[in-house]
């Protein structure tokens, strides 16, 4: 492995540390890299910066502990409606069934479905159409 590669792995590890991802696997012709985040020891738990504003995810959890938050299962550009349709897949007040597609995440040419983890009524829409979404970001709240 060249120094260049090691530098890239270092950068990947850095990004991994700042995300909620536990395992990153990259494979290419003749090579495979697997980075796994070790368990966080009690003493060195993630630094909680003093006075830092809670992240949107934390804020959502704080406000509505009883509701289910539907999170992104991928990175991508959020689409509330299929590109061939105008009507959103799930709008405020809509009733959704478990497994129903609530939105799509566009990654390159792909459209990945975001499905409802349980049945419920859409009580909040937490991310704007066409916004760039990261892993685990809250998209909807189901009451």
């Amino acid at each position: 492995m060249t120094d260049d590669c090691i530098e890239q792995v270092r950068q990947l590890a850095g990004w991994l540390g700042g995300s909620g991802i536990e395992l990153l696997e990259l494979s290419g012709p003749g090579r495979l890299i697997r980075l796994r985040r070790g368990p966080v020891h009690a003493g060195q738990a993630q630094p909680q910066a003093d006075g830092a504003a809670p992240s949107p995810a934390q804020a959502v959890e704080a406000v509505t502990a009883s509701a289910t938050v539907v999170r992104a299962n991928s990175v991508g550009v959020l689409l509330h409606a299929h590109p061939l349709r105008e009507q959103p897949l799930a709008a405020l007040g809509d009733e959704v069934a478990q497994g129903q597609v609530m939105a799509l995440l566009k990654v390159g040419t792909l459209l990945l479905p975001v499905t409802a983890p349980c049945a419920g009524i859409v009580s909040r829409v937490l991310a704007a159409n066409e916004s760039i979404i990261g892993w685990g970001e809250p998209l909807f709240e189901l009451a």
């Binding site: 061939l84 349709r85 105008e86 597609v101 799509l104 040419t109 792909l110 459209l111 479905p113």
Partner: protein
């Protein structure tokens, strides 16, 4: 195994087409929207050329005899699997006994006219002259050389990956969204001037490019008859029959052009005004009857570049789908 419960006329089994047989008088046939066919096959991990069912008359209903991964591409037909709504341009998995229902294509600015039902492994009909496409004129290929009808049972080919794996729910951005082509709010089709182009009046040549052309009800897999400002030749032309290919725009004596489509006969005697570039045949193949199109003049180089653009898009889609399917495997 898939049983057809209800199919309108002209529902046929098609792959990309039967190439290299024009010299024997055998037409090309093949999917009118080859991009939709290839995309559906890519979603399922099939070879791009696997045969699918092309549907242009609705409603359409089938029952799956066994668990089966399938993809719906082409026109958005408000598909339902046992009553549950399906997202268009996506792969899904049916359990044995489930019924798929397709309604008429959705209205709207991007309305298309043909839907494709692709299945994992492809529709397994015998290859004739190296293609599974239905040759309606010769009554061979496809399923018994004819359109599908109620009660027909289609077999599916061997699959490369287990149904239900990564396929479920995965979708593609439809090419008409990713690679749009419009002029003045109208579906645009790029064409090359053909052999007899210069023998039409300057006014006719100008109006061919500037005007809108309506797709008349006398349009099908054989050809699209257009209506617009008639094309006038400088002098009447008497021509012998000569070879023609899908995409050729002929002008009969009434001046209203005919675009030869996938089931075009291999010869014709009308003057050839222009030719739709190969890379835009899928766009025209989805243009509904009654809609209007505009022609845009292209050069040979632009026509080749447009083909490269489609190939690049399909290659990218294939790469993304296989990467995603690969991740699915790791997680399992």
């Amino acid at each position: 195994m898939i049983e057809v419960l209800g199919a309108g006329a002209l529902t046929t089994v098609q792959d990309r087409g039967r190439f290299g047989c024009l010299r024997w008088g055998v037409g090309t046939a093949g999917a009118m929207d080859s991009m939709a066919l290839c995309a559906g096959n890519i979603l399922l991990g099939n070879d791009r050329d696997c045969a699918a069912v092309e549907i242009c008359v609705f409603p359409f209903r089938v029952r799956f005899g066994e668990e089966c991964a399938f993809a719906l591409t082409g026109a958005d037909c408000v598909a339902k699997l046992d009553g549950a709504a399906l997202i268009p341009w996506s792969a899904h998995v049916a359990r044995a006994g489930q019924e798929l229902h397709l309604a008429a294509p959705q209205a709207g600015p991007m309305r298309a006219s043909r839907a494709y039902l692709c299945v994992a492994g492809g529709i397994d009909v015998a290859k004739v002259l190296d293609s599974r496409s239905t040759q309606l004129r010769g009554a061979f290929g496809g399923f018994e050389g004819r359109p599908l009808q109620r009660g027909d049972v289609l077999r599916t080919g061997a699959t490369k990956r287990a149904p239900g794996k990564a396929a479920c729910g995965l979708g593609l951005v439809p090419p008409q969204v990713a690679l749009p082509l419009e002029r003045d709010g109208c579906r645009a089709i790029r064409v090359l001037p053909a052999a007899e182009y210069e023998r039409y009046t300057p006014e006719s040549r100008a109006s061919f490019w500037s005007g809108e052309w309506k797709i008349t009800p006398q349009s099908d897999r054989y050809g699209y008859r257009l209506s617009g400002v008639g094309l006038q030749a400088n002098a009447p032309m008497e021509m012998r029959s000569h070879g023609i290919v899908p995409g050729v725009i002929q002008v009969p004596p009434d001046g209203q052009p005919i675009v030869q489509m996938r089931d075009a006969q291999p010869t014709g005697g009308y003057p050839k005004f222009a030719t739709v570039i190969e890379a835009d045949m899928w766009r025209l193949g989805q243009a509904p009857i009654g809609s209007r199109i505009r022609f845009v003049e292209a050069t040979w180089d632009e026509a080749i570049d447009a083909l490269d653009e489609l190939d690049a898009w399909l290659a990218e889609a294939q790469r993304h789908v296989s990467l995603h399917a690969g991740t699915g495997k790791t997680a399992a």
